[in-house]
């Protein structure tokens, strides 16, 4: 048994495997299949100040080794989460990451203020490609990333701030640095890549929103490159995700510089994906004589 515990911004995670936002709800449903206290953490469904109904259906489509989604931030509001789901997640003893989005800078400030001190991290979704009012406008350019980060950080006196970067941008290094400059305590990436699936017979996009965010196994090479770039352009911790389906995938992200990983779409293919990934990471570390997972973080040797 290798040591799997990691520490990010002073928060201890029993292992580096975190459920990715939007694929795991608030944990209750998966907890009917396995006890989610085995996880390192959970990033909640993206929340807003007000409840939202999200986009029309269909909200999902499939491509080869990828899926596309455009849920459009359906959520019951941060207040509802605090009242109804927070205690359940706390009882599980896993790191709780509140994923949040907003229309305006004030929204980001307000939702961060609500959650300050209640959760282990606030993860700023400034990269949702599926709603106009999903923060995407803030997530493209370094200047606006720094600004939304600053506003959010000023509402967070106790809880560390994680800024989730979009891959649909010009420069990951510049955007990562902008988040750091704005006061981010750590960075997560990647959110989904904007894509389209077409129904030839209907001559229409499959998804009602026309475009959707691409995720799943097929995006892993892009995600690895971006995580590597981010980890090598900032000093704050980086949490990596995008197409992770196995323990070795997760370890590749850690080699590229991630201190922890998030797993999303793989939960749909295999409900037990995350417990399996944790076991597979352990097995690889054991078979390679690595005693502590932290030893492999950021040890990629470039050619």
């Amino acid at each position: 048994m290798a040591e799997l515990q990691v520490e990010i911004c002073g928060v201890k995670l029993k292992n580096p495997v975190i459920a990715a936002s939007g694929t795991f709800g608030f944990g209750r449903e998966y907890n009917e299949v396995y006890d989610i206290s085995v996880l390192g953490g959970i990033s909640t469904k993206g929340m807003t100040v007000e409840p939202r109904l999200g986009n029309p259906v269909p909200r999902i489509a499939e491509g080869k080794s990828v899926i596309l989604n455009a849920v459009g931030l359906q959520n019951p509001s941060a207040d509802y989460f605090i009242k109804n789901d927070l205690a359940f997640l706390k009882s599980k003893g896993i790191a709780i990451i509140a994923n949040v989005a907003g229309k305006t800078l004030d929204d980001y400030g307000a939702i961060c203020a609500k959650l300050d001190g209640l959760v282990d991290f606030v993860e700023l979704n400034i990269s949702c490609p599926n709603v106009k009012a999903g923060g995407m406008a803030f997530g493209i350019k370094p200047e606006s990333i720094a600004e939304v980060t600053r506003v959010s950080k000023s509402s967070l006196k106790k809880t560390p701030l994680m800024v989730k970067l979009s891959p649909n941008v010009e420069s990951i290094p510049l955007n990562a640095q902008a988040a750091q400059k704005g006061g981010a305590d750590c960075i997560s990436l990647i959110n989904t890549l904007t894509g389209m699936a077409i129904d030839l017979e209907k001559r229409k996009p499959v998804i009602a929103n026309n475009t959707g965010g691409v995720s799943g196994a097929g995006i892993k090479p892009v995600a690895l490159r971006m995580v590597y770039e981010a980890a090598h352009s900032v000093d704050i911790p980086v949490i990596g995700m995008g197409g992770i389906t196995s323990g070795t995938d997760a370890l590749e992200f850690m080699l590229a510089g991630a201190r922890a990983v998030q797993v999303g779409t793989a939960n749909f293919t295999d409900v037990n994906a995350m417990p399996r990934i944790i076991a597979e990471m352990n097995a690889w570390l054991d078979s390679h004589g690595v005693k502590d997972i932290n030893e492999i973080v950021n040890t990629l040797k470039l050619n």
């Binding site: 449903e29 259906v57 999902i60 489509a61 749909f268 409900v271």
Partner: protein, 253 residues
């Protein structure tokens, strides 16, 4: 709810483009009711999503689903032969809760017939079923032997090549005067359910009616909010978790 590695027992063509797949579970998945569904892997690892299919039959640890070949997932499912293994998450959703009723009308169209089969099998000892099923044409007709457990069984086809020409909703209303159903259950294409709802309103039929909906799914267990339908109260419901069976008056069709 369990995710199990099941073994294909049989996978046979039962009508044009329609297959019946029976898998043996390695252990019991608990009680499974008619109207509940499974989320099954296609056997092709480039498909990251499982396919939701209604349970058509349960016998011990053998579970049967019937599917129409639509796209690449069901195409791949059809290539699986006995002995192959599939991952199957089950049972999912709520199912038809009709215990307590005595006379139930069953309306099924196309692939919507399959989940109704399990319901008829489950309750036929205690409930009189008046069943109306519609298929495209003669070559699509299947599973009638299973539905024979109904008190009456009416089969119609779009082109009249088997039974009368027409659809299942018409067949039901044509018979409605003779049948005193205290509940209606229905499963079929969206337009069929819509017509059923409009006709019930037009004819002022107040019989409780449960319909099973279809929507594209991600997780299949209520976490991702991909599969929603609209309710008349303005809220969304998850087809996979709050459904797939809803009161016809509750949801927008």
């Amino acid at each position: 709810m369990k995710d199990l590695k099941a073994t294909v027992k049989s996978n046979e063509r039962i009508a044009e483009n329609i297959y019946s797949l029976t898998v043996t579970l390695p252990e019991s998945a608990g009680e499974i009711h008619g109207g509940q569904f499974v989320n099954i892997s296609t056997g092709d690892s480039s498909h990251l999503l499982r396919r939701p299919l209604g349970v058509a039959k349960v016998e011990g640890n053998d579970v049967t689903v019937c599917y129409q070949i639509k796209g690449s997932g069901t195409q791949n499912l059809a290539t699986l032969s006995s002995g192959a293994s599939v991952n199957i998450l089950l049972p999912l959703g709520n199912g038809f809760n009709i215990s307590g009723y005595k006379n139930v009308a069953v309306i099924g169209g196309g692939v919507g017939v399959f989940p109704l089969v399990a319901t008829v099998r489950e309750h036929c000892k205690n409930i009189n079923f008046y069943t109306y099923v519609g298929f495209r044409n003669k070559s699509a007709v299947c599973l009638l032997d299973e539905l024979e457990k109904s008190k009456t069984l009416t089969v119609v086809t779009d082109d009249g090549s088997y039974g009368k020409k027409g659809n299942a909703v018409e067949a039901f209303f044509a018979d409605a005067a003779n049948v005193k159903a205290d509940a209606i259950i229905a499963c079929g294409p969206p337009v069929m359910l819509k017509v059923l709802k409009t006709e019930m309103q037009k004819r002022n039929v107040k019989t409780p009616c449960l319909v099973s909906l279809e929507e594209r799914m991600g997780c299949g267990l209520g976490a991702c909010l991909v599969c929603v339908c609209k309710k008349h109260d303005g809220q969304n419901a998850r087809v996979c978790k709050d459904g797939p069976v809803f009161d016809i008056d509750e949801v927008e069709l």
